[in-house]
Symmetry: C2
Subunit: 215 residues, 2 copies
DNA sequence: AGCGTATTTCAACAGTTGTTGAATTGCAAG
DNA sequence: CTTGCAATTCAACAACTGTTGAAATACGCT
């Protein structure tokens, strides 16, 4: 039963290398050989552990998706438990959606930054964006939008969806950490400063939601 | 002098084909042969008219960047002329920044959608995002942020930069037209509906700016 | 120790990649 | 018509692509 010892280690090394390179250069910008060189393993091992480059890509995505969905669901449920009788504020619901991710990036930036950068690229790609994001994250997103609807039943559904669209764009550009805001601001703001962002994004987005939904 | 007749036509065909394919699958997801097959021209012509794949990519980006910067600058200057004495409202400044682009997409969707989708991918790519967006668009962005600073000198610079960051994310995800909001909303919202977006984004973003800058 | 399976290596494949040089065509000016 | 250059075609290159099968090694179990 406890046969696998070196197995898990190399599988992880491959996934780590793939995650970093895919995040930097995209699916087609990276070769299997580059990944395996970074993972310090033979090329053929990629096809032994995962059966194709595409399956390796999917495995990279899957590896952390569940954890992310879990911590966000947990944050939402905690919030709802805290407000057993009345409804939670919109700001709090949005913070429960964005802050668990940003908090992860604050606490262990090295571990998470590549995965998030990968999500950023996928979300804005016509080729992958629609299907993959839907597959991995939409169940949680729907749960989140339901909470919003319950909190503000007077808001039009359409406005909630568009607001989420804007939120999603702001969040994923943050994940990309392109350094553009660093240039633009002359160093005043840094795109790696997740603390600064987690203090601002929920406020920014919540105000947007209200502006749309309350006309 | 009037030697070039077929030249310009094929150059344009190559650029059109490259624009569409790069937008769909990214720089590395497309081969020069695929581009030239779509352009109905010999492979070698790509290297005659542009000297490398990378230079073709840059040419695609450059082709429309100037037009976009011009119409946005014009919208901003018109706005400032209209408010010669007092300062324009924040909503109007933001609309002058976003609506010219969205209006282009409303009026001639077929012509523009691929170029904008390409921008969306680049903006969220760690590899290209920082440098290319800075090179092509930051002069205009700085002009726009100056207008905001003049309109609201009481706002902290930092908050303006972060707000722009969120705006940029929301705008570029819109350009990607991934169809994700279509799935999510069960068809209620369509990611190609630029009319709906241009009615909402300036309001959403302006409220966000205010929320950040006015604490 | 030795057996069996899980893991790793090695070498190779057929097809594709970006790119180039030489040969060919098209066209305008003398 | 011919000369000259711009535009286009054709064929090829070396390097690299994803992927595979067979051989070698490592490791847990009896």
């Amino acid at each position: 039963m406890a046969k696998k010892r070196k197995t898990e280690a190399t599988r992880e090394r491959i996934l780590n290398a793939a995650e970093e390179l895919f995040a930097q250069r995209g699916f087609d910008g990276v070769t299997v050989r580059q990944i395996m060189r970074k993972a310090d393993a033979d090329v053929a091992l990629a096809y032994y552990h995962f059966k194709s480059k595409r399956d390796l890509f999917d495995a990279v995505l899957l590896r952390h998706a569940e954890v992310l969905n879990d911590i966000r669901l947990q944050a939402l449920e905690e919030l709802e438990a805290r407000h057993a009788d009345e409804q939670p504020a919109v700001d709090e619901i949005i913070a429960a959606f964005t802050n668990p991710l940003l908090q992860l990036l604050v606490e262990d930036h090295e571990k998470w930054k590549h995965y998030f950068a990968l999500i950023a690229q996928i979300n804005n790609s016509p080729e992958w964006g629609g299907e993959l994001m839907t597959r991995f994250f939409d169940p949680l997103v729907k749960r989140f939008l339901e909470a919003l609807r319950r909190a503000r039943p007077d808001w039009a559904e359409e406005e909630i969806y568009w607001s989420y669209h804007f939120l999603s764009g702001a969040l994923t550009l943050t994940f990309a950490e392109t350094g553009r805001i660093d240039n633009l601001s002359g160093g005043l703001c840094r795109s790696t400063d997740m603390q600064a962002i987690s203090e601002r994004m929920p406020r920014f987005v919540a105000a947007g939601f209200r502006a749309l939904a309350e006309g």
